[in-house]
């Protein structure tokens, strides 16, 4: 167990390291002059030179990489060019928005997918199963941003039940939750289509197992057998997909924030691209990639929590 933890942790740190190298390389090594990118073609040579100096572009690459990483580890992501404030502060301001959206999206995704997937498995080869399978097949093919637009069209433009976008902040919790409903649904419906299918096939596999028959023979209700015996045993593949989906979900927030004009990290990335604010983009891309890697690391650890047999082997 200790060895397993150690190995996974080392792997996690190595992956983060490799990811940071890739981000740094793409943003700094690829042909191109960041100073020129930032200031534009009509910049004076003096201004360019001054900016290069300020960005540390004249230092050797390794030095620049090293100071970027070590500063980042202490919470210093450099200074934003467009906002002229520390990037860390920009991130801190917008992080709650993005986390709210990602967390509500994830919860809704998982709950919906488990309910639909188990319901489909329980009604195997019946109308309910076919219906859920058809809808999820459709859901997989629907772009989240388009679904978001349709939701706005119906619930904001036509019915006027919910706001079409924007976020009032958590000081007014009711308004905040109302503002999160459509973005959450848009984010989660597509993801839960994938997860519901995985849940269904995993549950069907488990339902054939002898111990499910034992649970039935113990006189337990169908519901109890499904949720207490089938679902826990079906979780390993489900958790794998949840881990992979977390990546999709987190990057999904970037898209959804732009559809709903939500002031989170996703909006910040696009403002920064438009403003040619390279240090901010670099920090944000690294942050998102780190979240993805961390999610996968947590999934690795979760397997052991779910399945005592793996603990023995780990």
């Amino acid at each position: 167990m200790g060895y397993f933890l150690l190995r996974r942790s080392v792997g996690f740190i190595l992956t983060l390291f490799a990811v940071s190298v890739v981000v740094f390389a793409v943003m700094n090594v690829l042909p191109g002059d960041p100073a020129l990118t930032i200031l534009g073609l009509d910049a004076t040579e003096d201004a360019l030179a001054a900016l290069r100096d300020q960005l540390g572009l004249n230092d050797p690459l390794l030095t620049r990489y090293w100071s970027w990483v070590t500063n980042a580890l202490t919470g210093d992501f450099g200074v934003s060019h467009s906002f002229r404030v520390p990037v860390a502060g920009l991130i801190a301001e917008r992080l709650p928005m993005t986390i709210s959206l990602a967390v509500s999206g994830m919860i809704f995704t998982v709950v919906l997918a488990l309910v639909l997937g188990i319901a489909a498995a329980a009604n195997h080869r019946k109308a309910g199963d076919w219906g859920i399978m058809f809808v999820s097949q459709l859901g997989i093919a629907v772009p989240a941003f388009w679904l978001a637009m349709l939701l706005v069209l119906v619930f904001a433009v036509n019915l006027r039940w919910l706001p079409p976008g924007g976020f009032p902040g958590w000081s007014d919790p009711v308004a905040a939750m109302r503002a999160l409903i459509l973005p959450t649904v848009a984010l989660a419906l597509v993801q839960s289509s994938v997860l519901a299918r995985v849940t269904r096939s995993s549950a069907l596999e488990v339902m054939r197992q002898d111990y499910v028959r034992t649970a039935r023979a113990s006189g337990f209700s169908r519901r109890r057998v499904l949720w207490r015996h089938v679902l826990p045993n079906a979780l390993v593949p489900i958790v794998t997909i949840v881990g992979m989906q977390f990546a999709a979900l987190v990057t999904g927030t970037i898209v959804i924030e732009n559809v709903f004009y939500l002031p989170g990290l996703g909006r910040l990335i696009f403002q920064s691209i438009a403003n040619r604010d390279l240090p901010t983009v670099q920090a944000l891309v690294m942050l998102f990639a780190a979240i993805v890697v961390t999610a996968n690391f947590i999934v690795d650890l979760l397997y052991v929590v779910i399945d005592p047999r793996l603990k023995a082997r780990a």
Binding site: I140, A141, P143, M149, A247, V255, F270, V285, N296
Partner: protein, 271 residues
Amino acid sequence: MKLPVNLLIGAVLVALVLGAAALSLLWTPHDFTQLNVRNKFAAPDATYWLGTDQLGRDLVSQLTAGARNSMAVALAAVLLGGSIGTALGLLAAAIGGWVEDLVMRIADIGFAFPALLFAIMLAAVFGPSLTNAVLAIAFINIPVFARVARAAANQVWTREYVAAARAAGLNRFAISKDHILPNIAAPVIVQATIEFAVAILAEAALSYLGLGAQPPSPTWGRMLSEAQTLMYQAPQLAVYPGLCIVAAVMGFGLLGDGLRDVTDPRLVRER
């Protein structure tokens, strides 16, 4: 043999989308760049089958041209990423040992970058363009194909005829080319079909966000991003391009699933 339903539906949808894309190369009902501001937001009629947009451009013509762009991007990205990834997977299986481990670890790292993040980096450095979108989508395909190709190749390496080829003195790379590659074609093609669907979705999202095709080239994603600002005046503009994306993605997705059911009887899944 009875063909699976998903294969048939998928094939029909794919044929429709590819047909529209191919036709648009030769002919569209109207010039999709033709502005006609006096005829903006026209309702569907015999001339403009689905009406016109805010600049009076014909929707059907834009949609078919969008199909062509979507297909081109997906094809380029999957071909590029797929061939690099397949080559890496073949190499990993052929050499084994630490090379295989290394390739697979690098592939794992690739999974940390969704296409969107990669596209964002490229857009930030080089400015947004369709080429960058293609590169970003191709990049995420590399680890996917590396895994599929390696897993399939490792199985083929255990076969008798490979042992025979080795005994005959062929080296590992020649065997990979002559014996392994043809025998992993089926799973690779299946994966390519599925990744084609993923690529269409990715391209649509990137174009919608302005990280893909730039005006005036029409793509479904860009049409949607323009429609979003007009949601109160012309909600219908937000509907058709989305339907096209769904049809194309579903078509390739179902086709891929169906092909897998047909080519890999071991994998026939409970449905």
